[in-house]
Symmetry: C2
Subunit: 415 residues, 2 copies
């Protein structure tokens, strides 16, 4: 039997046990894991060092190595995050609705764990802990398939998790790490419908596209963010500038950073030069439409491809538009339905934008950078869903739950 199928079976079996653990039992296991990570800090750092060495030998980029690297401080942050998860309310068992029928049947729709969650992710070993602990809190078993670049770290972390769980009432088999990080094991997960209820990919566009294309297991698509700020004719200059710079520069590599700026043409007449110059002064390459290219120095001409590109770096596309309707059309055509902002003093335009833009999160006079489980107050985040089904936007604990109808009767039959 292959490793994936074997661990799938173990996880499925374990899911029936963890699924009925009490909140106290699950929190107790989480506390032991947090303690275990701190106590085994040296072993984890030693394993992480092996990954970093191997990565250097393979010539991985510094930014990738940075994502793989753990430090004493990072391990303590990870352990602290577990304490936050412990403090969150347990969603399992929540009554979603109660229906009493005339025939005496009582139907109670109850929140239950999903069952077995699969996670395919890249580089960062903290995802191993985040995903495992969120799964434990919600009574799910989880199968983790990280990347080869962090395999030593992941093995060391899961060893600590298993040892901690062995001293708790939660069965260690509910956390499974696939040790074989070859392409074949990802493919096996795509076909693991018998044991897997959902597959969540976290990583770059290629990874997510592959999972969506090939998986037969239901997928929650996360990630890609071709986000826009639209500056309307009545926008306040200072606010527009601050939000644009923040949304682009505060952390350019993440999905809720903006990639494209739309400017109403009258506003552009007045402030376009000032705003775009400040972008360029901040080291950003600007790809402008014909008008922007012709009127502002140091601007590159934008091609059709620019409107679709998620640069994830110090680049931005800029387009002038006639009005809010043209902006909405452009966003709904080229955006990835992640986070979109309008800067305006016109409440009617703000309303139209909020209603018509198709995205997980729509902002009026605020930076797109707030689309995040922690910022929204969910306490923890398993990812940001960009699909319409199941969960949309930042996903907290509830995204890892399903429901069950429990019906009590005294002999009712259907006529």
């Amino acid at each position: 039997m292959s490793e994936v199928i074997e661990k799938g079976k173990l996880a499925k079996k374990a899911s029936y046990q963890i699924g009925i653990c009490t909140t106290e039992e699950k929190n107790n296991a989480l506390l032991k894991i947090a303690d275990g990570l701190r106590a085994n800090e040296k072993a984890i750092l030693a394993a992480n060092h092996l990954d970093i060495q191997a990565g250097r030998e393979k010539g991985l980029s510094e930014s990738l190595l940075d994502r793989v690297e753990l430090t004493k401080e990072r391990i303590h942050d990870i352990a602290d995050a577990i304490l936050q998860i412990i403090d969150l309310a347990d969603p399992i068992g929540e009554v979603l609705e109660t229906i009493e029928k005339d025939n005496g049947l009582k139907i109670v729709n109850t929140r239950v764990p999903i069952g077995v969650v699969g996670m395919i992710y890249e580089a960062r070993p903290n995802v191993t802990v985040d995903a495992a602990t969120l799964a434990i809190k919600t009574g799910n078993a989880i199968i983790l398939r990280g990347s080869s670049s962090a395999i030593h770290s992941n093995l060391a972390i899961v060893k600590v998790i298993h040892e901690a769980m062995a001293e708790s009432a939660v069965i260690p088999d509910s956390v499974q790490l696939i040790e074989d990080t070859s392409r074949e094991t990802a493919g096996e997960l795509f076909r693991l419908n018998d044991y897997l209820d959902v597959l969540i990919p976290r990583g770059g566009k290629n990874l997510i596209d592959t999972v969506v294309r090939e998986s037969r297991v239901p997928v929650i698509e996360t990630g890609a963010g071709n986000c826009h700020v639209f500056i309307d004719d009545t926008a306040n200059f200072e606010m527009a500038k601050e939000i644009t710079l923040n949304a682009k520069l505060q952390r350019p590599s993440v999905c809720n950073a903006i990639e494209s700026l739309l400017i109403q043409s009258d506003w552009f007449d007045k402030y376009g030069n000032d705003l775009i110059s400040s972008l360029i002064e901040n080291g950003i390459t600007v790809h402008g439409d014909e008008r922007v290219f012709e009127e502002i120095p140091f601007v590159q001409p934008a091609t059709e491809a620019d409107w679709e590109t998620e640069y994830l770096g110090l680049e931005i596309s800029v387009k002038t538009v006639q009005d809010v309707y043209e902006a909405i059309d452009h966003i709904n055509t080229y955006g990835t339905k992640h986070s979109e902002a309008i800067i305006t003093e016109d409440e009617n335009h703000a309303e139209v934008f909020k209603q018509k833009v198709d995205a997980t999160t729509v902002y009026h006079n605020a930076s797109t950078r707030f689309t995040d489980g922690f910022e929204f107050g969910f306490g923890a985040e398993i990812g940001i869903s960009t699909q319409k089904l199941h969960a949309r936007g930042p996903m907290g604990l509830k995204a890892l739950t399903s429901n069950k109808f429990i019906v009590s009767g005294d002999g009712q039959i259907r006529e």
Copy 2:
């Protein structure tokens, strides 16, 4: 451009218009459709007659022809069902949660339409109306891909729907029927991610398996039901017999009918013969485990395959078990997680069964035949989801919705 892509584009564009229609506008369109169906009854019946003729020539089974066939009465029932949908509350615009942050950001999570829903289904032309009207009520565009056996009926029905919508504020393009019912158009729908937000298959196991296996568009799996009744040691004989016969016989061809009966062995000693004889007297073929086969006349021996089989007809498998735990294990191993019942006077056993059985709906002392949107009081049903994501169990209007976070600020940026 292929028909599917062309209609996908039209539906996507229409989705932005129907998505912001008011409840009154949508209900008005629905009323005109109901009137239109009644007024064009003759044209619809004539088209349906062509399907029935063609089906006879192709040698379709009588049960399939019955599902294709429309009558004056059926058309009136379909129109009446639309009036029920009009009476249901519109879920769109519902505020799901409001979050106020310390920095002054106000986050409102709002219920919105999914966007464009795809429906692949077999035979029954009433699904054309049900799906289109549920989509309209929830502000979604819909792409309908019915089967060739009902194409004349579907064309006539959609013509009436389009004519009715043309006299309303809801754009007719939000309902699209794929006229080419070849295998290729189904394949195109599987890859229509750019224009389609969800694909719902309704039909036999083959259809559903194909959609789950091949679709890159998120799927809501519906349907298969290998359902069980478990009779516990304390079960009342009369109640156990009535529920078993109802769950098997009231409509054997549907997904919430039972396919398998589990009997606690002490109860079997006392009542097994009476119960199973009554099944056989009702024309049911019984496939029994070793004990049932040896002790009861006219029983066939069950094979491993019987525990997995959804007969959808006058057959049942019967197994004796030691206790409720063995019953739960068997159900979680062989069931399709649809509807499962325990008959018992022991409240503890009922609790364990409700908690541990993994299914959309779990019954205590009632027939599995109640798993149904109408019976649950949802008023309408787009199908019964057997997956854990998005919607589980009978799906009403809310299953055709998603959510959007609307954030209002006054210049907030992320530090």
